[in-house]
Symmetry: C2
Subunit: 523 residues, 2 copies
């Protein structure tokens, strides 16, 4: 498939007119063809116009139609074959195996949502039948279902060129909910984005859906993105990226005449708590697991373990020594973009001024090569410094030495919101963990024991979310089947004649969905 360098607006392939965007192979510094040109605000407006035009039809597609569409997107992405993997490798510096795994996750995610759509549980059908004889007042017939919010703007993430980009989690859950999607592709991987975008375009056509169900825009700077979020036809926003980027979108969304929800996943340092007995018994083993998690994907995971909290002493020293050895032995890796690489260098430079450097990984020779870095500091210094609490995107982590378990809890209590919090614990740590758990529950969307936060399972129980600033809205998740609820709202129908009721709410339950009738679950 030959890349065009164009925007995809509905079924059209349109050359951009704004500043050029060039993918750069971060491993070589080589600039990749074709050039992409950013969309204008009128391109954004046209995409929103088509999305709005598609919405009345798309939101009322049958469960089976919509599920088939999601399945078709997955098949079309697979049909891109190795060209997709090769382009993504060139644009991101990520290795083949990782990208093949990410493609499998992306397609699995689409198919998971197809299943979610088919089940109809997301409709949350509730029926309170009329009680005409009730005194002192009769009750009308009342029925509730959920409906789609409207067109959604999705921002592709840099660090998951497939799973959180053009047809990633936000797109899949919004389409599942019945919302047309306008994606702003990330400028770091426009070719990968175009390939996936064309796969979605094909699926739209194959399924006979209105073209506006999907568009893909590019744009450097914030012009196109802000135009999308400000567009009155956009009704929700999905974003994964920097804290400053997320805050800017939140501000724009709130300043609209009609404010809209923004689901921004922004910043997390994912603390790991080394509980005393675990640290004592298997500190070296934990250190190896930790450094493996730290280095995964060159540390460019939202769930990268950027903080390790333990009690000062011999066991912690042994852990630090083992972790330092592993870090020193770790190879340099290619980061996604020169910008991300530069920010990582700046970030560890700042940390170096505030904490003591324990170890640094092997130097690389390419232009975007990063070395894993390990720092340490005391709890007192950590608690006194905002800089030490800020996320450094990349394979950098900070060990916090606490005087006792109470100080570990104080560190936990002082943290900002997180995507994850991890306990390394053994049986003897149960009571100490029990004291820590309620603190962590208020800080994080996911709590792990004896695992590592990198690697987010796409399933029903997953929560990839958490209190601000991990995300802008702790009430939802961006990964897993529950993400569909982000793009829905309830509507109640009172006394409607059966012929006017949506199919989901009819007495004979033609969709066969589970219902809450008069407060009781139907079998």
């Amino acid at each position: 498939m030959i890349l065009t360098g164009n925007l995809l607006i509905g079924r059209a392939s349109v050359p951009g007119t704004q500043a050029e965007i060039r993918a750069i192979n971060p491993a070589t510094g080589e600039s990749l063809d074709p050039p992409y040109h950013g969309g204008s605000t009128s391109d954004a407006s046209r995409a929103c116009e088509l999305a709005e035009a598609a919405f009345p039809f798309y939101r009322e597609t049958s469960l089976e139609e919509r599920a088939t569409f999601l399945d078709t997107i997955a098949s079309q992405i697979e049909a891109l074959g190795d060209a997709l993997i090769e382009r993504a490798m060139a644009e991101t510096g990520l290795p083949r195996l990782r990208l093949e795994g990410e493609r499998a996750r992306t397609c699995g995610q689409l198919r998971l949502f197809a299943g979610v759509v088919r089940s109809g549980e997301w409709l949350d059908v509730r029926i309170d039948p009329a009680l005409p004889e009730r005194t002192p007042m009769p009750r009308a017939d009342l029925r509730q279902r959920h409906v789609a919010l409207g067109p959604v703007a999705v921002f592709g993430a840099s660090n998951f060129p497939l799973a959180f980009s053009v047809a990633g989690g936000d797109t899949a859950s919004a389409l599942a909910a019945g919302c047309p999607v306008v994606v702003k592709g990330h400028s770091a991987h426009p070719g990968t984005s175009e390939l996936v975008g064309r796969a979605v375009q094909k699926a739209v056509a194959e399924c006979g859906l209105p073209e506006g169900v999907f568009s893909l825009l590019f744009g450097s700077g914030r012009v196109v993105g802000q135009a999308l979020v400000a567009d009155p036809r956009i009704q929700a926003v999905g974003f994964t990226g920097s804290r400053s980027g997320g805050l800017a979108l939140m501000a724009t969304a709130q300043a609209r005449p009609q404010p809209i929800p923004v689901y921004a996943e922004m910043s997390s340092i994912n603390p790991v708590f080394l509980m005393p007995e675990a640290l004592q018994g298997r500190g070296k083993e934990i250190a190896e697991g930790f450094v493996a998690s730290l280095g995964m994907g060159a540390g460019q995971f939202c769930t990268n373990p950027g903080l390790v909290v333990g009690i000062r002493g011999e066991a912690l020293d042994i852990f630090i020594e083992a972790a330092a050895e592993a870090v020193k032995g770790s190879s340099a890796q290619t980061m996604l973009t020169p910008g991300i690489h530069g920010a990582y260098r700046d970030g560890i430079g700042q940390l170096a001024g505030e904490a003591r450097e324990i170890a640094r990984g092997q130097a690389g020779s390419g232009p975007c090569q990063c070395q894993a870095t390990l720092f340490a500091t005391t709890a007192a210094d950590f608690l006194g410094s905002e800089a030490l609490q800020a996320e450094v995107f990349g394979a950098s982590s900070l060990v916090i030495e606490c005087s006792d378990a109470a100080e570990m809890r104080a560190v936990a209590a002082a943290l900002e919101g997180q995507l994850t919090a991890t306990l390394q614990m053994d049986d003897g740590d149960l009571e100490a963990s029990r004291l820590l758990l309620p603190i962590l529950e208020r800080k994080a969307g996911r709590i792990l024991a004896n695992g590592w936060p990198t690697g987010v399972e796409v399933c029903h129980a997953m929560v990839h979310g958490g209190p601000f600033p991990a995300t802008s809205d702790s009430r939802t998740t961006s990964v897993g089947s529950a993400a569909i609820h982000r793009f829905l709202r309830p509507v109640c129908y009172q006394g409607l004649p059966g012929d006017l009721l949506p199919e989901a709410l009819r007495d004979d339950n033609p969709l066969g969905v589970r219902r809450l009738v008069d407060g009781k679950r139907e079998a």
Copy 2:
């Protein structure tokens, strides 16, 4: 029970130190004893401190403990006896029957949420068991439950001194979710608020809960309210009131270092669509129903039908004539406060400058007496005027004369978000209604056929919500059992030892809750 005029901060009864707040009997203009003095920002801070201290315990109370607490509040409110009704009558000018009904609704609401808590469905338990043999990667054990957000600030509404005030819907749903509540009582009914607040205080003591589970503050102006919303311990806000008040709270909540959700119910004109055949066949009967709904509670319902849309012609003329007769015959009613009465007079004064006045109800002689008022205008004029689309709180409504069904739809499409939209329709109107319905679904939280929007059933299928500016968050409801979801967030537990898991998530399901296991519903 003798009123103290005090703030209730935890278990303490504390005199306020700020400007005096005096309830006024709107029917007589008489100022009522005792004087209340507003709380200071340090009172607000103290209430939040207690709420925060109570939270770790309260959020983990058992289902039965929390349900019993809600039941106990209802019993304690009932135990206040007629003193509550008499004080509420004096403070609001609302008639006895209405307030007795509202008390029943308030207590019923608390007991409904007790049932919701007991069922445990709100936990939304999901379990994805470990798959250690899965290739290429094993799956960890993943479990999800919902937890309470944290302390909640609730603002009492003027127009429901019981059902949307101190122990009203927002308080009941927040307490049900496991959130301590700090109420700012409405200055129009401080005595009613104190009585109910003391009933809640008693229930807290009777149930052996930490005192900070509930506090009640007073304050004129916005100082105490803004202090509550800005307090870092407050994690969500429930508000029913004016658009300007709601927007101010939203701005404060967004400007916090950690933004929090605000559930503000603000403004709705609740359009009623007179479909041609219904208008033709029973215009007079509809007119009577309409004027009865319009005048209910002196028009001081959020769901008051402030807009009637029909097609110009003889049938609409007959409807207008009948409605005008009914309005002219309607008695003056006492509005809640001099301020609300003044705003109503200003509002109908403005309408009178832009639309033609059709009828006005009978004049009253007391200080806060309002006359129902009916206006009419053309669709073209309505579509061209923002003022005509603004809510006038009170028994005022505007008939829009359209040239045809298409123009009715254009009016519907131009509306802001609404709590309700109503169709008056007969069998022959089915096709025209089918065209209107998708437009209304995007505008309103509840759609009625052949009923009236006033009178909101507290049940499972109810949606009292809707797109902005009806509310600040269309994804939820403020009335009905689904309101509990406003105050919850999901947490995922990965690989936790059984001994550390919350009860709701244990293998043996000790709470007996319905669970989604590996994506399948357990029987």
